[in-house]
């Protein structure tokens, strides 16, 4: 009976998944669909949420002449040399816009003016960024607001249009407005940062769309940057960081950034749990014996879309979060689903655990005379 319920729930899950997005189960890497266009549209209808310009945030965003004037010049950032990622907090009417940045090399005194827009070959989306590390060369030409921004990727021509960037309040990270856009976004960066001796410092900005951070990671070879992003995958962490930033927003400079950098970014109690349990001898029996524990350790690993190449075409299997579970309109169902499906799993584990404990308690199975010791 329990098996029946278990598998029935599993089938229902799959059914929902395939009914809603069956056509997107196998998609080309260029056809990645965005998850929350509706939410973004709602925000836009409310008056929009836009990145605050001015000096109130660690980054001085220059939005040009305001929301409608997002005609951004795509500044060259091809000489980036050190990675950086940033969050843009919800900037709805009740929450002021803030930008939280975290430099991986602890360099905190950065005040770049960045302007950015989205160039999308609608209805597709994938990140495009000037990166010196990922081996791809992106060239953008003729970018204007509400205009085409056709571009080349590795000498391949793409027709695209400029889209605005808005912030999804509920999903806490910058999102891109447009119906299933997604194509390529690029950052135009007017980089006026300086290093400690006043020389211009090249920057690399990583956009961090929430659910797809790992997806983007496939575009970057800098594992250090993305392993750091791993630590920020929990909603709570983002919220904590934003709260932390808001608390100390009256501080400036080094103190502010040191506070942010020292904040408890990773609150997962299991993050370091297996740190001492390393596979020191791969391929050994010990490694194989301990593989169940490694498996457990990886249960909370963030999903990474599977990409493979067939007939010289990149095929990507997107994560379930991208296809279905990450959509805002299924969150209530997801909660119910977790209650049922997750609860059942936990129940089974607990039953097994109690049985195991019973076995340990069984006198006939325990010949140890502890009292003699």
């Amino acid at each position: 009976m329990k098996k029946f319920i278990f598998y029935t729930l599993g089938l229902i899950s799959l059914l929902f998944l395939f009914i809603t997005k069956v056509e997107a189960v196998v998609v080309n890497v260029d056809n990645m669909a965005w998850e929350y266009p509706d939410k973004l549209q709602q925000q836009y209808n409310k008056g929009g949420v836009w990145i605050q310009s001015g000096t109130g945030s660690p980054f001085n965003f220059d939005t040009g002449n305001g929301q409608k004037s997002n005609t951004f010049t795509i500044a060259s950032s091809t000489s980036v040399s050190w990675p950086m990622w940033f969050y843009i907090s919800p900037a709805a009417t009740e929450i002021p816009s803030t930008v939280i940045a975290h430099t991986l090399n602890n360099y905190y005194n950065i005040y770049p003016t960045i302007v950015f827009s989205i160039c999308a070959t609608s209805p597709q989306f994938k990140p495009i960024a000037s990166s010196a590390n990922n081996g791809k060369i992106y060239t953008v030409k003729g970018v204007q607001t509400d205009a085409s921004c056709d571009f080349y990727i590795n000498n391949e021509y793409y027709e695209a249009s400029v889209y605005n960037i808005y912030i999804d309040v509920q999903w806490w990270i910058v999102n891109v407005y447009s119906e299933l856009i997604y194509v390529d976004f690029y950052l135009g960066i007017n980089n006026n940062s300086r290093d400690s001796i006043g020389n211009p410092t090249p920057l690399m900005f990583y956009f961090l769309p929430w659910a797809e951070a790992q997806y983007y990671s496939s575009y970057y070879s800098d594992s250090q940057a993305w392993s750091s992003l791993e630590n920020a995958r929990y909603t709570e962490n983002i919220a904590e960081m934003i709260q932390e930033y808001n608390k100390i927003s009256d501080q400036t400079g080094e103190a502010r950034w040191q506070k942010i950098l020292s904040s408890n970014v990773n609150s997962s109690p299991f993050s370091n749990f297996f740190s001492s349990f390393t596979d020191s001898n791969p391929g050994s029996i010990a490694s194989i014996v301990s593989s169940p524990l490694r498996l457990v350790n990886s249960l909370n690993r963030q999903c990474s879309p599977i990409t493979f190449n067939i007939f010289n075409k990149d095929i990507t299997l997107p994560c379930g979060t991208t296809l279905f579970w990450g959509r805002s309109d299924v969150q209530s169902f997801r909660n119910l689903w977790n209650l049922l499906f997750g609860g059942l799993i936990i129940y089974r584990i607990l039953v097994k655990m109690f049985k195991s404990i019973e076995k340990m308690k069984d006198p006939s199975n325990d010949n140890v005379e502890v009292i003699n010791l």
Partner: protein, 103 residues
């Protein structure tokens, strides 16, 4: 506080299990790698396969719809389930050896 305590306790258990596994199996591994290199290669292949499976587990879980909150509840239960009995049996075995040696 309790979470920290449990975490520390489980971590200690895990370290001990890891230590025991390594102590017990290292000589066997050395023997295999020295005298049975082909078997060693086969074990390496198995290990690679396991690692490949582990690599995609996040992908599979994303399709189940289980949230990180639920997973974070499940993980310590599984850890407890698989480590504590092993530890208990290890202790039993140690006591048995001790008693045997003591005569």
């Amino acid at each position: 506080m309790i979470e920290s305590l449990v975490n520390t306790l489980l971590q200690g258990v895990l370290n001990l299990v890891s230590f025991l596994i390594n102590i017990l199996l290292t000589p066997i591994d050395n023997l295999i790698s020295t005298y049975l290199p082909s078997l060693s290669n086969a074990l390496l292949s198995v290990d690679n396969l396991i690692n490949k499976c582990i690599e995609y587990i996040g992908f599979c879980i994303s399709y189940t719809g289980i949230t990180t909150t639920t997973i974070n509840i499940i993980i310590p239960l599984i850890v407890f389930l698989y480590t504590v009995p092993l530890l208990v049996h290890g202790i039993k075995l140690s006591i048995k050896w001790f008693k045997t040696l003591r005569g």
